[in-house]
Amino acid sequence: MSSSMEDELHKWIRIVDALIEWAMIVDSNSRIVHCNSALARGIGVAQGELIGLGLGNILRFDSGVELPITLVEPSESIQAIIMTREGTAIETDIRSARVREGYSVLILETPKEMEILQVLDQGLNAAVIINNERLIIDANQRMVDMLKLHSKSELVGHDILDFISKDHKDRVINALEMMTRGESDSGDWLEMGIVRGDGSDMLIDMKLMENRSPSSSDSRLIIAVFQDHSEIRTALKRAQEEIHLVRSYLEIAGVIFIALDRNAKITFINSRGCDVLGYSYDELIGKSWFDFVPANAVDDVRRMFHKLINGKVEGVRLRREIVTKEMGKRLIEWNTVIVKDEKGLIQGLISSGEDITELIEAQKKLEESERKYRSVIEQSLTGIVIIANDGEILFGNPAIEAFLGMQELSSPSTKEYMQRVIHPEDLDRFEQFVRTCMREGSHQSIRIRIDNEGRNIRWLELIGNRVSFLQEEVVQIVAIDITQNMKLEEAMDRQNRAIASIANATIKLSNIEDIGENLIRGIVSAYEFDGGVLRLYNQKKKCFEVAKSIGMNRHIFADKVPLDDEMFFTAYVARMRKSVFSEDIETDPEIEKYRNRLRSMGVRSLASIPILDEHNELLAILNLFNRKPREFVPDDKKFLRTLERGLSNLIQRLIIERELILSEEQLRRVMTDIDEGVIIAEFENGLIFANDKFQEIIGYDAEELAKMTLRDVIVSDDYGLIEEENVKRANGESSVFKCRMVTKNGEIRTVRVSAVPFRDKGGQIIGSISIISDLTGQIIADEMRRISELKFRKFFENLPIGVQFIEFREPDRFFLVDVNQAAVQIMSEKLEKFVGTNLKETVPPSHKEFLEYYLQVIGSGKPWHGERVIERNGEVSVAIESHAFLVLPNLLAVTVIDITERARTRREIQRMNEQLGELVQFRTAELEEANRELEAFAYSVSHDLRAPLRSVDGFSKAILEDYETILDETGKDYLHRLRAAAIRMGKMIDDILRLSRVTRVTLTRDKVNLSRIVREIMGRLQNSESERLVNVVIEEGAFAVCDKRLITIALQNLLENAWKYTRKTNDAVIQFGQRDENGQRVFFVKDNGIGFDMKYEDRLFTPFQRLHALGDFEGTGIGLSIVKRIINKHGGRIWARSSIGDGTTFFFTLSE
């Protein structure tokens, strides 16, 4: 074979290989020279296996076909059957093309499904081909693999549904039906569960495609392709998002694009560029760019343009202004690059630009507010609320809602709610604050209390300013919960406010050490410096003073750095007015001059930042350093440079505060030097400052005072006075007055107050500054002077009665104010030493009881008196009688009288009485014994003496009855007398018993109406002898406190006597009455009967003594004895006045 022929053949081989149809090359002997990979794969053989075989080895032809096959017309074909390795017979139509030199290319037209499958086989997807009955005709290897089967034969001939999970079978059926109805040639991707050979499930997307065979329309084939779309979907989504982002970025950014040629002529400008400049595209094209640059910047722009166009600079990023058609200026941030042609020659520039005019303005504003805001926001910003012009709350963040203890701040009722949660006393201030914020626009701050029913009061610091919110002017308030710090801060802040105000300070104080320290610490740690020093510029002294240093021994650097001293690096930076960065001082020429000095301090690299105010005046220098070389990346420098301006507010504040601290110290010194108390009180907040002297006077320290109100130290009676004085202060008046204060230990001190109005920084009077002088000692003297003015003093001094004046002070202290000479004599020489002291502390414990009595006098206002007897060896040594009474509400007079003699006498009497008592007791015992004997006697009398009498009487009676006939009259008479005597004796015995009973009875005294008793007795007597006419005269209203039962017995006896002895009197008169005799009530019973001889008076009341013959008047003679016993028992006395024939009067008294 010639080489050209060989070439020819190879060319064909390449062509055949490229075919996707089954193809091979045969020589004139019908021997296979080459077969392509499609064919080899199609029939399951290796490509090389067929080479050299005869065509008849693999094809069977219909009869009549002879080899070699030669086809003239390409449209002609020969039918044949080709066997696969597995023995499947595949029908094929063979076309041939003669190549040259006897070689032919045979193309075997395979059935359609084969073709498809071949395609699919090369693809990535698993696929099966199914027929109308859903039976699988063929499947590719991926399908076999996906289903974890071993060979295709496990699939072929099965219903496709066999491999679809139960839930998704309908889906397949529906999709196939849709296809059958011709609604679509290919379906959508369907998510489909498939069942694999090992029983596992898999979720995958399936798509059905119909492929109608062009030859036979009814032999429809459906290809099911399986593809895992999960990744694709994700990828797609991501892609879409990216596109969206890019698009939205472009939309939002509104970037200007502009292209300039080497002559700075505009060759392209986008619509955004046209919009910004205000010209149309056509107006701009071909114009020089410099026409749109402000005149003062043209040179600059031109220079930069030439640098770029000449290749000195690759690209540049800078901000430049442009002039619009309306002659306005816009600030554009440009990013410009050069454009080169393929030969590397610079053709022009392309700039993309952003209109940052508004942005810059906004940023400026933002920075301005941020500087003020920053510390607040960074440290403790917690709540934000936005309030509309009409007071309605538009927005509240969750934090503020938490502070206020409410939800849904923007609901309609919240305005009222806010008013409810704010402490009533703060509400007006709060509303004022909101109005001020709205009006002023700048930042305002206020502290208010939140008093939300039942919760603890919380303190909020509100910082508000006016902002635009949804095209509306609103007040934005930042709220910080300062409840925790409030106690300490309150005290400190109030004190600071006071001092600050005195110093006419213009801003509020806070802890400057912390500000300085926090500032440096923050920067040092964020930018990994080893240390830093903040030096404040003292404008008066024209030098820098150290405010705070971190990470460096303070002694190694100068306290003061004069601005003009060239040896100091700090002074250099100050003169430069710009930040200096040195990555390594050893190699940095800028530092050379200061290298040794810095080296000595251990500095190797540094950043030095001058801090300037808005007028470019130097405020401070912040030096930051490392001990090793370091690198400053541009961003670091950029940030640190921003501090030049960014810190100015903070530093200004620091400087002012520093000055204030000094004045506070000075002020403290001044105030401490004054030997008078100084307090500052605000009308609203009460005590806000108290100097040492005042603390000494009042006994509370500053910390305690900070928690107290003025009322806590003022005597309650003086509140009114203070109120009045406050009114004067509020009107700007100064005055001097006295009031009383209560010290910590309860002592009341009278003080003189010299008070002047206290103004806040705005000049508004908000309280008073008072100088307090303790007058207590003076007041006591005043009081005494007052007493002497009453001309009491002399009297007092010469009074024989000892007098002490004791001043009472709350709560229980007694100061001995004065004593007179008598008191000293009576009590003790020592008494004078106690004058001016608190007796509670000075008197001996044995005398403390008096203080209790004095307290009672103070409390009740009633005088007290008592005695004190001091004994020695059982004898009275000293005895004092005291009387204590009030002369002034707080002043006790205590008189003392020497009663020693009296006490001694009394003691003697007492002793005698005691002896007497003993005697009486002894006698009483004797008497009681006698009484008991008497009782026993009386008892036995009633039994034993009566029995014989009964016998005498009884048997006398028996004799008289039984022996009547034997006895003569004399005998009978004797017996009768015997009986009479016995009966009389029985009566006497009864009388003796009555008498004895009266003696033994216990008295029960009641108020008794004697007149009534007399009337009753006389009534009975009158009834018993109704024929008698007796004039009874009873005085009404005779009352006595006595034993009613006994007095009745006594009166009965007296009245019976009177009744008895008037029996023989004509015009008998019995009279009962009472009269006063020597202040004593005397009762009497008077009759006009027979009377008796007064010489027998002494017998009258003796038992059984009778003054009259028994025959004349009946009776045993015991009656008056009983009366006397009864009267005596009442402690009374009974006596009689009588004369024979004129009647008798019995008088008696009843001790009450």
Binding site: A947, L949, R950, S951, G954, I983, D990, L993
Partner: protein
């Protein structure tokens, strides 16, 4: 209603127990009872001990003829061996004797005796007057009440 006590009205089986140590008083009391037409059998015991023996059929009374309990006991207070109060206490604590009516018949008018007697369950308290005529009158009233009007529990149980 008018009660007139006639001879034989009071059944003889209704025994009266008189506890009295003074023989004069025994005679006079019997005489007073008789004069008051109280003809019941009168048993006399000279003190509390003897009376208890009688009631309990003990000692010399172990073979006594009459059975049952007296209709009423007339009791003196001051007696040797066992006083009236002690006797009263005994029988009031004896379930068989506790319901027998007891009339205190004594010379004493002392309040403490009266109170103590009623406290111990005496049914009546009569002070013997010195005057015999008054005594008879008192006995008559007593007999009418306790022996005729009063209904005593039978058998003393």
């Amino acid at each position: 209603m008018n009660f007139v006590v006639k001879k034989g009205d009071l059944l003889e089986e209704k025994t009266i127990l008189l506890v009295e140590d003074n023989q004069d008083d025994v005679i006079l009391t019997k005489r007073a009872l008789k004069k008051a037409n109280i003809l019941n059998k009168i048993v006399v015991c000279s003190d509390g001990i003897e009376a208890l023996e009688y009631l309990r059929d003990e000692g010399e009374f172990s073979n006594k003829e009459t059975q049952g309990y007296p209709e009423v006991i007339l009791l003196d207070l001051k007696m040797p061996r066992m006083s009236g109060i002690e006797f009263l206490k005994e029988i009031r604590n004896d379930p068989k004797l506790r319901f027998i009516p007891v009339v205190i018949l004594t010379s004493s008018k002392e309040e403490q005796d009266v109170i103590e007697s009623y406290d111990m369950g005496a049914n009546s308290y009569i002070r013997k007057p010195v005057d015999f005529d008054q005594f008879v009158a008192a006995i008559q009233t007593l007999g009418l009440y306790w022996l005729v009007l009063n209904i005593a529990p039978k058998g003393g149980t």
